[in-house]
């Protein structure tokens, strides 16, 4: 049996969902409304919007690191690992108007507090590292084929994922995203 979620955790859950739709433009009012509490109660658990947002991003970054680590240690081949990894992004896009929260916060990077922006860029750095390692191993095994550095290739893949989500959500066309992902894979394995 799972323990009931603490209020702080429920606030984090709702905030995460809202960031994934509105970016840093989410509001305490929406959180309070969703949880049937008052705006002021949120401040008891998280002193400020910056604090809450940073908690959301840090929590998600750790959780994502756990999932990618599991893929890494799964014993799957490079191609299967890549497809599992891309599946994380497709899943993030699938449920409605949401997408990767770091992509949306990156779009708001001018208005976002520095502490949050650092968290966003740390996420991108994590993904770049993880992908570059996978790409290097895959190329060594003869599974992947690409010219130039694995780091740049990883960056290009991330850009395609984030931009693909951004456009697919605006156009309300998730299928366009999966098509882009298939192209990214196809470009690597030929």
């Amino acid at each position: 049996m799972t323990a009931a979620l603490s209020t702080a955790d429920r606030i984090l859950d709702v905030a995460e969902s809202l960031v994934r739709t509105h970016g840093y433009g989410y509001s305490f009012a929406d959180i309070a409304s969703e949880l049937s509490i008052r705006k002021a109660s949120i401040h008891y658990h998280f002193a400020s919007k910056q604090t809450l947002t940073r908690a959301v991003t840090a929590r998600y970054r750790v959780a994502f690191a756990v999932r990618t680590a599991e893929v890494h240690e799964s014993g799957l081949g490079p191609l299967a690992q890549l497809e599992k990894y891309f599946g994380f992004y497709r899943d993030a896009l699938r449920d409605g108007d949401r997408m990767c929260l770091y992509g949306l916060l990156a779009a708001d990077c001018v208005t976002v507090p520095a502490a949050v922006r650092d968290e966003v860029n740390a996420f991108f750095a994590d993904q770049e590292r993880w992908l570059a390692r996978l790409l290097t191993a895959g190329r060594r095994d003869g599974v992947f084929s690409f010219a130039g550095s694995a780091n740049v290739e990883a960056l290009a893949l991330l850009a395609g994922l984030e931009g693909g989500m951004l456009m697919a959500r605006s156009r309300r066309d998730v299928h366009g995203f999966t098509a882009v992902v298939q192209r990214l894979v196809a470009n690597l394995i030929r």
Copy 2:
């Protein structure tokens, strides 16, 4: 000799610049401050924020269509045309904290009025069409090589461009964007 810009044009210029940094979160106060006029004066030229934003996007979309048409009719080869096209995006990113205004408005697609969202998606459709035509011609001439439909390839390129700008701006690393663009080109010409 060029005529002095009308106030409406100057408002459009400043608004465009602000959208390219803040997305739909730009403010009338910032425009007014930049032009040394009052917020209320803006409403004389543009009835609402929605009206102004739509004017900005429509104007830019037409201007961009003119530039891409010039590239199309330049007599340049497919590769040179593609590089000129990518140069437009690199230029949009280069000056400071700005990027493609449609990418930022796409990120705000949940809060943006429908009329503006239509304009954003029309831009993406324009670019997809333009790129697909170039890709098709380039493949026919043996310059480009890619599997599958030119439309999907065009979409993947756009995603890479928009996502690349988004990440580069957040990380304050324009060089990363140019590296990604080089990868996109390299993937096509081998």
